[in-house]
Symmetry: C2
Subunit: 189 residues, 2 copies
């Protein structure tokens, strides 16, 4: 097999799509991002990378809190709209029903199936245009209808699947197998 070089680029597939919430200048604001990952288990921590130009970053830096809200596929238009507009130009606090948790300054979205309330624990200045924020997930919220055995069930809340560079949203498709399980069938050479 001969491998072709392609230009170095941001080739990671797939990505999640989340809406980040923070209070900026006394008002809830939101941004849509795909550069998000779990980074620690105990306590649970999540990273988000966002361009320093984002209006939402101001609130994260000021309050040291943010929220991660996972939208469902039926919210795709509004989710995309959030990414098209800046809080500098429109008031996004009226787009959702908002609630606050124990941190009091991380606005969360009632309409998204899952909400993670996060306390900023570290900011890594990527020095190239992005802030990498690492937050501890101090509380999580989800309605019973989206859970199976107490755990979020993607076949109940339908998160968006994102492909970068071509910029498309997809549904979660067919089940393939269970992790830490299907590999047992593999016969080593």
């Amino acid at each position: 097999m001969i491998k072709n070089k392609i230009s170095p680029g941001i080739y990671l597939y797939p990505m999640p799509i989340v809406i980040i919430g923070a209070n900026v200048k006394g008002k809830a604001n939101f941004m849509t991002i795909a550069w998000c990952s779990i980074v620690e288990h105990k306590p649970p921590m999540i990273s988000i990378s966002a361009s320093k130009t984002h209006y939402t970053n101001i609130g994260i830096n000021k309050n040291q809190t943010f929220s991660v809200n996972i939208p469902s596929e039926d919210m795709v238009e509004l989710t995309d709209y959030i990414g098209l507009k800046s809080g500098r130009d429109i008031d996004k606090s009226s787009l959702f029903n908002i609630f606050y948790g124990e941190l009091q300054t991380a606005p969360m979205i009632e309409e998204t199936p899952i909400n993670l309330e996060c306390k900023l624990v570290k900011t890594i200045d990527m020095n190239k245009g992005h802030d990498l924020f690492i937050g501890e997930i101090v509380q999580a919220y989800a309605n019973e209808e989206y859970l199976t055995n107490g755990i979020p069930d993607i076949k109940k809340f339908f998160p968006l699947v994102f492909s970068i560079n071509d910029n498309n949203y997809w549904k979660v498709g067919e089940h393939i197998g269970r992790a830490w399980s299907v590999g047992k069938k593999y016969n080593s050479k």
Copy 2:
């Protein structure tokens, strides 16, 4: 709407599934992870979070290089197998056809559709059990058959979609819409 609290946890959906490569003690080794994100655009950078107990971490720390290999859905058994076994116990270098790029110490997998060759630029000690490695993607590799207009096309290379906590692999499903586009249809209240 009343929101229920659920225990704080690692609730991010969906996640990618990638195979990380590094040379450990002179031999190519691999680990399967889902905690991976793009963190910077120019130059392209990627983060991976891996438990300090992983054998592969030794090689990343020593050589300051690693690879990110994106498997396709037809590799699910082998991908899962990589995650079930440690390089301390089995020799994973024989599981794939391996090639090296310009960094010379980041082993890449011929069989996976996409490979990212990475130079370690920063390690964040999460101090709780995980290393958060940030690498610059210095080169990327993909065969022509997986590309559309020079960009990886998930409808050609079929990456795995992972749901954590319930630990399931899924296919990418139906197309929903285009990003930075479908939001234009949203009519603000």
